[in-house]
Subunit: 506 residues, 2 copies
């Protein structure tokens, strides 16, 4: 094989991972860049993925008592200013609305007019505007907890953008809760982190490490930021979701107070938590191969694509009838709580169809031609196997087995991603080894380095900063699954109580 | 009764309809005004209604082959300028983003910084930005039709705002399609209007008239705007949804071209169609009474509220067990394709609970106390009946009958609204009668006038304008259900071929 091996995506992951990422998205038809700087267009194949992710998350949120609501897109500047760290964190990258109409100037060009007395910013996150509502909704301990989620678009004016991973506008959900006690708010922070872990591992087939962010990587204004971190196939870390314990910081900023059961006025304890369309980028980078995207079945835009093979006009009616009947049967079959999602590709474009669906990552491809029909069978390709590895299966058997096949693909993807992460995760206690781990092995592949280093850190921000400056490596999280143990900081050699995850990151 | 009759909402509809509307929303806890000028906060009870409406519509769209996608929030000014009528229509009321960060000035105040070379507007509607994508997606007749929908927020800087009816930011869906022929685009325009009519009548229980807008009321840039128009209880019209046939106007503006099957390059034919959170306002104004909102069961935020009545501590466990078991059984019962939505109100606030749920418009209220349990029955109140008209029903019977009861309420609401509209719709052929019809009968109720006048109009915009200036009455639509007949224009007396709907409008 070697160099001769043909792949559908060029360059391959090995050759140039960042370019592979752009190409694989183009080939999958999931999204495209827009003429508006830093914004993306999410095309139907990509948006369906987001719909499925949203639906699953929404059900999980509601099962914990959360209700959805909707708050304004615009935030007055003075709201943002109420929390000092928060404004510091977001002022540098927010879209500002200053006018409310357009008028023609002397030359006939349309220019902003109707200047606002107070400019508004387009929400980068909604703690402050939602906090204002909460301060009105809450009077007594009887009003607590307040458990709210919002599905929305947000804007952070990013200078360097990449589709799904970092765009000026993105879609997300942001949960915001208020509790009577610190303990209850901390418990909610963990509960939502667990929801995110479940979503990532059981639905997206992305193994994640849970833990806490260091001071320097925290959400601006949070007491504690917890996160799920995943390893991509270039061995970089992706922060895939965060759940913040906000203490009383935002309650004080927004004046969220309640009368306790002892009739004492107290500030509420708040949390916030969010995941975004970034998850789609994570999914692509975790599972994609050199032939394109691979969609995990439980959230896939479509589970099965049916490809009628019609070479002679006289066969057309029969093949399409057989295809439509199979589609109807599949759609009446449930997989993981939802009807099987079926696409029928009856375009008259010949053999290119099969490769298109490989690039799009459809978990199952089913070819249906006159010969298959004659033996009442279908010709099935699985996206977790080689493109040419296809087999004839009796039609009824296929309908009976489709759920199991999808689950096999789901599990294969997860196990493969887990094995990859474990292969590229190493406990490192020697500084030279640490530095070598993060130095590209091959100058022709400058983006590929070691992976996750599990190393001791004294907790000092100065050590973190030095490592970042030297290697562009940061503390991704202080993981919950590491036991306390005595060790020496990988940077300064001072005493350390725990290993943390160091990595390069998106 | 008379003056002594107590109602939960003050003022009543008769006393002051606009104020009743504000009060009824406040009492229902569906939404509130926000500190951001013209924007609203949609609270959980209101948002759940929007979720249910969205889900039903989304299913109906998808059944016609439409797929969802997402396009940027921001639109470059030069995109808007591509269609002359379009920019004329929207330039007067759009939020303009001119900067991409905030910085402190000398006095320490945060001010806009990082001026954009080209300002962006926040989408008021997306024909132009979506058209840009379509121009790239479409090359050949084989790529057509393109059938896309977007669920999104949009901003139109309204000077006079009213919750749900007219807000600067609102939520909506906007469908955008491209077709190879005029006929197919016109057919799609009608198909989506039919979807909206079905949604309004079968789900929201709002009878609507379908028809076309006059030239002066058309969407800016459309060839034809079709609409569904409803009558509110102040006899004013509400435009509840529109479906536009855009001809080739936007295709030419955005350069949406395709190679036909005869290998000729042609412009596509486009449509767009949308409904918004305004539907919630329409629902409130159609069904609400002087005790609050009444939610039509098929989209109600909750179908049934269970209210445990616990007067003694010793009863608590038993009553709650009984309530929870009933909730579980109801949730396992389907109504109109979805599980029955159940709220349990176990707050310790006594008899006020019942009235709260009346004001919120829950279709069914079920009180459960120790006496009811002893006879294995529940005490049921229907929102379409008098508040005190409640009756004991055997629990099993209730579970069996809940779907029928909800359907009875649904039908009652529709029939009542239809009867109201018919009562206040009149064929008028005399100008004096026409003017009197639109003159308030009672100076103390300046908002209540006749209703819908079905009168002849010659089609001349000058007549339309005169009527608007004199009476603040406009042509709401040229209805499809009116046969052609010879008549005389109600304003100028010239020959007219058809009656149209004249009304005051939101």
């Amino acid at each position: 094989m070697g160099k001769q091996a043909k792949t559908a995506i060029e360059p391959t992951r090995e050759e140039n991972y960042p370019e592979w990422y752009q190409e694989v998205i183009k080939a999958s038809d999931m999204a495209e860049i827009s003429p508006v700087r830093g914004c993306m267009v999410i095309k139907p194949w990509g948006y369906a993925l987001w719909e499925n992710i949203s639906r699953v998350l929404d059900d999980m949120f509601k099962a914990t008592g959360v209700k959805n609501a909707y708050f304004p897109l615009f935030i007055p500047i003075n709201f943002l200013e109420k929390e000092a760290e928060h404004v510091e964190g977001f002022a540098k990258e927010c879209a500002v609305v200053t006018h409310h109409k357009l008028e023609q100037d002397e030359s006939g060009r349309l220019v902003p007019a109707g200047k606002l007395t107070e400019p508004l910013i387009v929400r980068p996150t909604s703690e402050t505007i939602i906090g204002d509502s909460f301060s009105k909704w809450i009077n007594s301990y009887r009003d607590l907890p307040v458990l709210i989620n919002q599905w929305a678009n947000v804007v952070r004016w990013e200078m360097r953008t990449r589709i799904f991973l970092r765009t000026s506008e993105f879609l997300w959900q942001e949960g915001h809760t208020v509790h009577a006690t610190k303990e209850e708010a901390e418990e909610r922070t963990q509960m939502m982190l667990d929801v995110y872990k479940k979503m990532a591992e059981e639905y997206l087939a992305i193994p994640v490490i849970t833990g806490e962010k260091s001071e320097s990587e925290k959400f601006p204004g949070a007491e504690t930021t917890t996160c799920i971190e995943a390893m991509m196939q270039d061995r970089k870390a992706l922060q895939a979701g965060t759940s913040h314990f906000l203490g009383q910081n935002f309650a004080k900023a927004s004046d969220i107070k309640f009368q306790s059961d002892k009739e004492i006025e107290e500030y509420g304890w708040t949390t916030s938590w969010g995941v975004s369309t970034r998850l789609i980028g994570g999914l692509i980078m975790t599972h994609g191969d050199d032939n394109g995207v691979i969609l995990p079945p439980r959230v896939a835009s479509s589970h099965v694509v049916l490809i009628p093979i019609i070479r002679k006009d006289k066969d057309k009616q029969m093949v399409m009838d057989y295809t439509n009947e199979l589609a109807a049967r599949l759609r009446n079959t449930a997989y993981y709580g939802y009807p099987i999602r079926v696409e029928i590709d009856d375009r008259d474009i010949g053999g290119a169809k099969n490769w298109e669906w490989i690039k799009k990552g459809s978990p199952l491809r089913v070819e249906i031609g006159p010969k298959d029909i004659a033996s009442d069978s279908v010709f099935v390709g699985r996206r977790d196997k080689e493109p040419r590895d296809k087999s004839a299966i009796n039609k009824d058997t296929f309908v009976d087995e489709v759920g199991n096949m999808l689950d096999e693909i789901q599990n294969t993807l997860f196990q493969k991603a887990l094995a990859y992460r474990e292969k590229h995760t190493r406990n490192i206690d020697d500084k030279n080894e640490f530095d070598a781990f993060f130095t590209p092995e091959n100058k022709e592949r400058p983006k590929i380095h070691g992976g996750f280093a599990v190393s001791h850190w004294c907790g000092d921000a100065a050590c973190e900063k030095q490592i970042k400056e030297r290697l562009n490596v940061t503390v991704r999280c202080i993981p919950y699954d590491q036991e306390n143990e005595d060790g020496e900081c990988i940077e300064c050699g001072k005493a350390s109580k725990k290993r943390v995850i160091f990595a390069k990151a998106y």
